[in-house]
């Protein structure tokens, strides 16, 4: 029972961390970034590079964030900016970007599955249940991501401007907010978060050039049902992620893999606002 609850909470934490970058990009840029999977992969391979160089495993996270931000800056400038007015085309172009990132990684690192070192190893006892320390650490990491985004949105000038752009972009522009700048910075942060999430999840399994795709689909679904709100995303990650854990444990892991996709699609049919208000 304790293990099940911990599985649900850690799964939700992972899903939250993975989806948060997609969420803030959708919120500010109104664009679904299908290169999100590619950015996750970049994060995973940043961890691999750190491992191969024999550096401290903790360095994987800052390395991933930097790699993501740099990639995000390039992509925003050359691909995203021309597509601001064509959101459906942006989905396709970012999907193409995901393919490019995947192929570049394949050319550089090869297509085989590789492993990265974990900064925290071993297990600990929680209420008499032995549980992986690293998965518990992910709860902290997700909380830190959430806290970081919330602080950025609520306590900085950029956050204020971003919130203004989310609510009413033409009005924000009219008030002298440089929405192009806000979009650029947001995209970079979103890409950095995606890459960080990639580095966070790889110690649980392994890295391969297409590791981002399954995560992308789940993150996309979670973001759509949370209508651009961090709190709703947390609720969505907990309920749908919880459902996934339950189905995987009690019915079948194969069907478990579909839980988020199917439930999210049905939820949006019944209640287009998802977990959000309205």
């Amino acid at each position: 029972m304790t293990a099940l609850v911990l599985d649900i909470v850690t799964t939700a934490a992972i899903l939250f961390a993975v989806a948060s970058g997609l969420l803030i990009i959708l919120g500010v840029l109104k664009i679904v970034n299908f290169a999100h999977g590619g950015f996750l992969t970049i994060g995973g391979y940043s961890g691999l590079v750190v491992t191969q160089l024999g550096l401290n495993a903790w360095l994987a996270y800052p390395a991933a964030v930097v790699a993501g931000i740099v990639m995000g800056a390039v992509v925003e400038r050359f691909v995203i900016r021309p597509l601001y007015d064509r959101p459906l085309d942006a989905i396709l172009a970012t999907w193409g970007l995901g393919i490019i990132i995947g192929q570049l990684i394949t050319i550089v690192f090869g297509r085989e599955i590789q492993f990265v070192q974990t900064p925290i190893t071993g297990a600990t006892s929680v209420f008499g249940e032995t549980y992986s320390l690293y998965r518990l650490f992910l709860i902290l990491a997700a909380a830190a991501v959430a806290g970081g985004i919330a602080a950025l949105l609520n306590a900085t000038r950029l956050g204020l401007e971003a919130r203004a752009v989310i609510m009413n972009e033409p009005l924000a522009r009219g008030l002298g907010i440089n929405s192009g700048h806000v979009r650029f910075v947001t995209f970079c942060i979103g890409a950095g978060l995606a890459s960080l999430a990639g580095a966070l999840i790889t110690p649980l399994s392994s890295v391969d050039p297409n590791m981002g795709v399954p995560w992308l689909v789940n993150a996309f679904m979670l973001v759509l049902v949370s209508s651009v709100s961090l709190a709703s995303l947390a609720i969505a990650a907990l309920t749908l992620g919880g459902a996934q854990v339950l189905v995987s444990t009690f019915i079948s892991p194969v069907i478990g893999g579909l839980t988020i996709v199917v439930l999210a699609a049905l939820l949006l049919r019944i209640r287009p606002a998802g977990f959000g208000h309205g």
Partner: protein
């Protein structure tokens, strides 16, 4: 009214057969090419091209759904996979025979149709977001692949099914069959998208909401289209399984679904020929290059794709086409632009108005309320309107006039109360259903279909009553007398071939009105029909309206800001103020009312003024 049929009825037919000849000859040439192909091409290329033809047929269905109807779909791969697995499973477990071949084909078609219908039913509903269908069709191949994985040995799990008995045909025979199939399909698709029904699809893509207010059941049209396209993709998958003797989960996967969309985008969405040629070219080059440079080739394709989406959103073929057309006009000094066929206007049969002969009031509104959260826009609105009444609705900005129109024409809008048309409650009926009850609504802001011509727009409004042709253009356009009067009086009858975006503002307003009248409504809801018009235009429309109400007994509600205009034409006036009915009475009563003058002149605040 004989002078209305100024265009000879033979002209459109001539224009149509004028398109028939080049289309037929191009198709003929292509068929010659696919019959002769095996004699000129090496066997490896022939081998690859069969597969490319089948992919191209599937890409064609993506183009019709996405390029024409605006439905971004990743799901066609799933239907291709269903068709392929129907063949693979049947031939593996029941062996191959003519009977099982037919059985497998029918099974694939049936399963695809059912799955597509369910997908469509989930995706298309009143007020669905255009992104939602992309989500559902994204989920579809993911689900299919998981189902195939969990099928264990029955579906062959991740390695699929291989080596079953299949059609005893040579590669050359497959080439000819699939090639001819592709040519026939593309030609049929060309006639389909250029028909009146094709225009309907474009109208739904451009402005679905407006379509529903013209009584067009857009969700149903899209579901039907999706079912037919799924069945075509399933046949392509069936042929693929028969030809390659391999079925694996990849052919029904999400990645294949996105590849189809990429091929369509590269070739040129909404062009039919672009996706077909694009798919064939990319698939053949892939086959040659992927052996030598597997990753680099995918990298190149990905990069070109991103470049095309960013810089050439229309795709490659339209760019080539424009270039060729310029060359052609420069060489022949002739304008290569296609001539647009104009249908002849004829009189629509009378007596199809809803509610004729009913004793109930045309419109009975009781206790109507509409609120957004805590904001109450309408509250306790109640009135009745009869035939032959022209009811003016006035009130200051924000009084809830347009919201009232919305609540009367869409059963999902109001939050309380009832609306009945000739005794039929509109309940929770979407706009297309409300149109069927007899309500026709025009919009405050001109809401037309930019790229459709005047004649095509009017035909859209007739779709509910007259249906439409799937593969051709109807030579005539039947309109009720009232709509034709608006058209002739404003000179729109000489502009039938003009695209709506080129019309003047006055013409657009007139067309908007003519489209609503073409619906043959019994209750007409007009939201500022004369906004932005000149005095003579306004008088003209006013006199047409008065005449309509008197001669045809139409019940008309009209929102206007111009009190003088309302006074001239109305038989009764309702004053709305802050979401409530403030006054409901004859023109004299309302115009003479001190209360109305106070609201309009802001008299309540006069004592505050210095």
């Amino acid at each position: 009214m004989a002078d209305l049929t100024t265009t000879p009825a033979t002209l459109p037919r001539r224009a149509f057969s004028g398109r028939l000849v080049p289309a037929g000859s191009i198709a003929g040439l292509c068929i010659v090419a696919v019959v002769a192909g095996p004699y000129f091409l090496d066997s490896y290329t022939v081998n690859i091209l069969v597969r490319s033809f089948l992919y191209a047929a599937t890409a064609l269905t993506v183009d019709i759904l996405w390029g024409y109807a605006g439905i971004l779909t990743f799901g066609q791969a799933a239907f291709f996979g269903i068709g392929a697995y129907a063949a693979g499973i049947t031939f593996t477990y029941m062996d191959f025979s003519p009977q099982t071949a037919v059985l497998a084909l029918l099974a694939g078609l049936a399963v695809s149709a059912v799955v597509a219908w369910i997908t469509g039913w989930i995706s298309f509903f009143h007020r669905a977001s255009p992104l939602y269908v992309a989500i559902v069709t994204l989920a579809l191949p993911i689900i299919l692949v998981q189902v195939l994985y969990s099928g264990g040995t029955f579906t062959g799990s991740s390695s699929g099914l291989v080596g079953y008995n299949t059609f005893d045909l040579s590669v050359e025979a497959w080439f000819t069959i699939c090639g001819i199939g592709l040519v026939v399909l593309t030609t049929a698709a060309w006639f389909f998208v250029n028909s009146d029904f094709g225009r309907l699809l474009i109208a739904i893509r451009e402005n679905e909401q407006r379509c529903t207010y013209l009584g067009i059941n857009a969700p149903r049209v899209k579901i039907l289209l999706m079912v037919v396209m799924a069945m075509i993709a399933s046949v392509a998958g069936y042929a693929y399984a028969g030809y390659t003797v391999v079925v694996a989960p990849e052919i029904g996967s999400f990645v294949f679904g996105t590849e189809l969309v990429m091929w369509v985008a590269l070739g040129g969405r909404g062009t039919l020929i672009g996706p077909v040629l694009g798919t064939i070219a990319i698939d053949v080059i892939s086959a040659y290059l992927s052996g030598n440079l597997p990753y680099v080739w995918k990298l190149i394709i990905g990069s070109i794709f991103v470049l095309v989406i960013v810089a050439l959103p229309q795709g490659i073929v339209p760019v080539l086409k424009t270039g060729l057309r310029r060359l052609w006009s420069a060489a022949t000094r002739r304008d290569a632009a296609p001539c647009v066929a104009v249908p002849a206007l004829i009189e629509a049969p009378e007596g199809r108005r809803a509610g004729t002969g009913s004793d109930a009031p045309a419109l009975n509104v009781a206790d109507l309320a509409c609120s957004y959260g805590s904001l109450k826009v309408l509250e306790g609105v109640a009135f009745k309107a009869l035939g032959s009444e022209l009811l003016g609705i006035i009130g200051p900005n924000g009084a809830g006039k347009t919201t009232l129109m919305r609540c009367l024409s869409d059963g999902y809008e109001r939050t309380g109360g009832t609306v009945a048309v000739f005794g039929h409650a509109i309940a929770r009926t979407p706009p297309q259903g409300v149109v069927g009850l007899g309500i026709g609504r025009s919009f405050q802001t001109t809401s037309l279909f930019e790229t459709l011509t005047v004649a095509e727009s009017l035909r859209l409004a007739r779709y509910r009553l007259d249906g439409t042709r799937m593969l051709s253009h109807a030579p005539t356009l039947a309109l009720p007398d009232s709509a034709r009067r608006v058209i002739t009086a404003t000179g729109l009858d000489r502009q039938l071939a003009i695209e709506c975006r080129h019309l003047s503002h006055g013409m657009k307003r007139a067309l908007e009105l003519a489209m609503v009248l073409a619906l043959e409504p019994s209750v007409l809801l007009l939201d500022e029909p004369t906004a932005g018009l000149t005095k003579p235009e306004r008088t003209l429309i006013g006199s047409i309206l008065v005449d309509l109400v008197q001669r045809e007994g139409l019940c008309t509600l009209i929102i206007e800001h111009d009190l003088d205009f309302v006074r001239e034409i109305s038989t009764r006036i309702i004053v709305l103020h802050q979401g409530k009915v403030l006054l409901d009475g004859s023109v004299a009563e309302v115009v003479g009312s001190e209360l109305v003058r106070t609201i309009y002149a802001g008299g309540a605040h006069q004592e505050l003024a210095p």
